[in-house]
Subunit: 201 residues, 2 copies
């Protein structure tokens, strides 16, 4: 059954991603093959890879947004606010609005669980963490208001936030109440960033 009139690149892409996400949630990321995804979406394996570079991107293709958010936080901060504080505020804002990228959105437990149980995805997130770090370091390097070791600061900020986020995810999956967890998340975030502020003052 080849093409019928329903052509359309971005439609196909979204459809593949939807189907894939469903399968991954059902059976676990590492237990679903690309061929299965392709079959379920009614396309060929090659078409899947035409739309997504790696299997992990079927789920995590919005990750690059995070890089932009991080850069923007530093770039567009007020003059009297340091980069650490700017990022802290951005992260607090994301948490406050229960942004999909924070671990505090509603109904995402299955998603989080699936990621936690898939070594491949964890590895990808680790690599991505590095991308954020590099982007942040670049931003700081080109920032006239900042002098100091941008690479070091970027690495510390990213590491600190990862610790906060990972713990939040852990509690989330342990069944913690969402409201209490949000407050706790903010508190741990503030504590971690306090360390960085003190250290780099």
């Amino acid at each position: 059954m080849p093409n019928r009139g329903d052509r359309g690149g971005s439609r196909t892409r979204a459809h593949i991603a939807d189907v894939a996400t469903g399968l991954f949630l059902e059976r676990g990321f590492d237990n679903v093959t690309i061929v299965e995804v392709a079959a379920a979406a009614g396309v060929s394996k090659v078409t899947v890879f035409a739309h997504f570079d790696r299997k992990e991107d079927l789920l995590l293709d919005r990750l690059p947004d995070v890089v932009e958010i991080a850069r923007a936080a530093v770039r567009e901060r007020a003059d009297e606010v340091g980069p650490v504080e700017a990022i802290r505020r951005t992260l607090l804002a994301l948490a406050a609005e229960r942004h999909g990228l924070s671990a505090l959105a509603e109904g995402i437990e299955p998603f989080l669980r699936m990621i936690r149980d898939a070594p491949t995805l964890i590895a990808r997130l680790r690599a991505f963490e590095n991308e954020v770090e590099v982007a942040l370091a670049a931003e700081l390097a080109s920032d006239r208001r900042f002098s100091g070791d941008g690479a070091l600061l970027a690495a510390l900020v990213v590491a600190a936030y990862r610790i906060v986020a990972v713990e939040t995810v852990r509690r989330r999956l342990a069944g913690d109440d969402l409201g209490g967890l949000a407050a706790d998340h903010r508190e741990r975030l503030n504590r971690a960033f306090e360390v960085l502020e003190r250290g780099t003052a």
Copy 2:
């Protein structure tokens, strides 16, 4: 040409690793296949994987030592020395003796270059970094002399040292003089750990 009297598991293992390392240095890690390694070592592909879990372990199989060094630094420190200071001293000592694990040993430029140019190896190092972090966090969690967020501290320490080490490797491969670089390495290491000390005081 099957077995001649030269049996011996660990001998074979070492031989495979040697041959592999030579090929990797010659042609780059990602340009050498396991089958080629096996052929050059006179064994079968399956045998290679019987001795090493992953291709990267052919080069990096001594990495677990680092974990032990890190744990020991924290565990066996004097009572009046905090964990950050203990790790700083250990890292300074490694640098001073030009330990193979520091980037300051002599004649390891080809090695460093090969790693830098192999995305696969970089990814493995990133994963390994995480192992160190987890081990360190566990050590801190079971340390009665330490109270605080062990996971956070572990992540910050590991991140800080990575920044220092990566920069040292970069300068090394840029041809910097080894003596001057060693001094510079110490200085950057001290500065980075100063940030952590101040932050966690």
